[in-house]
Symmetry: C2
Subunit: 330 residues, 2 copies
């Protein structure tokens, strides 16, 4: 695609064209160098139109009801006049075979609504690739006029931290049950949550949910809040009955107001952009390196010496570095 | 330190001098560029004397009794004439404040034995740093004559996979209890284990341990073995009473024989060395980049444009790359 059509493309995204948006996100997922160049150009053209949305991440153990919760919360936010984009982070989809994409019943209402955009996670990505794609997708969705961006983490392990590093607010959804260990939550995740929600507070589970709410509220008092402008909260809700969803929504708005007013939101986003920049730099540097024609021949020769146990791997790496036309001394 | 003394140092390590070994491992932990250069030289000098040890990783959830198990297994292996090095991988020590180092009762017998060397994990490291240090420590311990190297993973999450990528055999220690989720084991870890051990098969827990043994044996039958030369096994043991430790030891020896005879051990180590080489290359390239004097001035200027939301981070990264004296086109 040539420059003028990239400009057109950007204009269509900014006019709210969903097809242009979807294609742009697909473009950011491509590994091809020419696609990467186009994606860079596109992102730069829409860049001044980004930043106005509330960005939240929603995480929680499998089975806690994240999709249903997002459906219920999203419907509430739509009624409040919001335009909603939901992006999934699922680094495990490579292993699970992308079951998410096949599950057609997920977020049925949101999927059909004109003011909602659901983007499932593509299968076959590394966490690094997911992070890059998701950051670019957030920017593209904002440029397309979505003012509430929800990142849903589906994977395990590192994905919560990855998600927390690209949003304003981190929401952890829990089941009315025992400790974190029993729920398969990685240690430290509770500590980064701005809002803890005990979901499934309905029917037989309501009493257990109340107990969990008290337990976590007590635990939170012992933790130093991540932010100076926001004290993490615990609430109960039920994505099934809708109980507590109004409080969740008003808490999200209160959090957004608190951190925007204090300037913390902008400081945080600044730091996130610098982190993104450094990750991109690292990633591009490595790609760059791999396509250098002379190194493409030299690396396999050095690797052969590593295979034959002639060279220790650190020395082998240093030999490659010594061939670079860059300053070698401090 | 100058070249001749590095040669002396290497000679002392290869003569089994424990102080020279300990200092060398400390050297590999240093971030200083001159230390890195020395560590490279040292490693290269001892490189031909590495590779003869059995390398195993022992992992398992907190509280399963890893330290006691290593103490019991190690004592058994010492009696069989082995020289044992135990290295800890603990990426979480930065958060837990290095409690391991303070815990003086860990592996008391091994600590005092002339043929055993225990190296606790240094606090304050990233997982990448831990992996590099551990790989170099394995090589140094082998050069010093240790013929059984045990990597103990203490942290959570990625550390098991990191450990598995630097050993011949991966042992997972489990408690006689419910499913993996209840034990806080990351999905996929059972699948990479060459040997599953149900520890604490003593007293009241023996019946539960037998049930767990059957459960895991059945589960393993459904999994495709990672190796074509080894079918993963499940055994019960008790680090406390010593029950089953003889079987564990003979299984370790049987595994070593099986993969050595078939050539799988060497193939695996080859791949691990290539992985190590690539990780080193990546790490060094980034460091290299950060110390380039012209880039050290340029990067903060570009970052300022990112902070002021003038440049999208991917474009900012590309601008840096475009300044490099490397080929810019495919």
């Amino acid at each position: 695609m040539t420059e003028p059509s990239i400009t057109d493309w950007a204009a269509r995204i900014m006019a709210g064209d969903r097809r242009a948006l979807a294609l742009a996100i697909t473009l950011t997922e491509s590994q091809r160098i020419d696609h990467r160049t186009e994606a860079d150009a596109l992102l730069n053209l829409i860049w001044s139109r980004t930043g106005h949305a509330i960005r939240i991440a929603i995480s929680g153990p499998p089975g806690v009801g994240k999709s249903t919760f997002i459906e219920t919360l999203g419907t509430h936010a739509l009624a409040a006049g919001r335009r909603i984009a939901v992006l999934a982070i699922d680094p495990s989809s490579r292993l699970s075979g992308g079951s998410i994409l096949g599950d057609k019943t997920r977020m049925e209402t949101l999927t059909r609504h004109a003011n909602a955009y659901i983007r499932p996670s593509p299968a076959g990505e590394t966490l690094g690739g997911v992070a890059r794609r998701t950051r670019e997708a957030i920017a593209l969705c904002e440029a397309a006029g979505f003012d509430l961006v929800i990142i849903e983490t589906i994977g395990v392990g590192q994905s919560e931290l990855t998600a927390a590093n690209m949003v304003d607010m981190f929401i952890l959804l829990l089941a009315p049950a025992g400790g974190d260990d029993l729920q398969g939550i990685k240690r430290g995740i509770v500590e980064i949550a701005d809002l803890l929600l005990i979901n499934k507070s309905d029917g037989d589970l309501e009493i257990a949910a109340k107990r969990s709410e008290t337990d976590y509220a007590n635990a939170l008092r012992l933790l130093r809040p991540v932010s100076t402008d926001w004290q993490p909260q615990v609430h109960r809700c039920s994505a099934l009955t809708g109980y507590g969803i109004d409080i969740v929504w008003s808490t999200i708005l209160a959090h957004a107001t608190a951190i925007t007013t204090s300037g913390e939101r902008d400081r945080r986003r600044c730091q996130q952009d610098i982190l993104w920049f450094r990750e991109e730099l690292r990633e591009r540097l490595l790609n760059f390196f791999e396509v250098d024609p002379s190194l493409r021949l030299f690396i396999p020769r050095i690797e052969e010496d590593v295979r034959r146990h002639i060279l220790a791997p650190p020395t082998a790496a240093q030999r490659i570095l010594n061939t670079l036309p860059l300053p070698r001394e401090r």
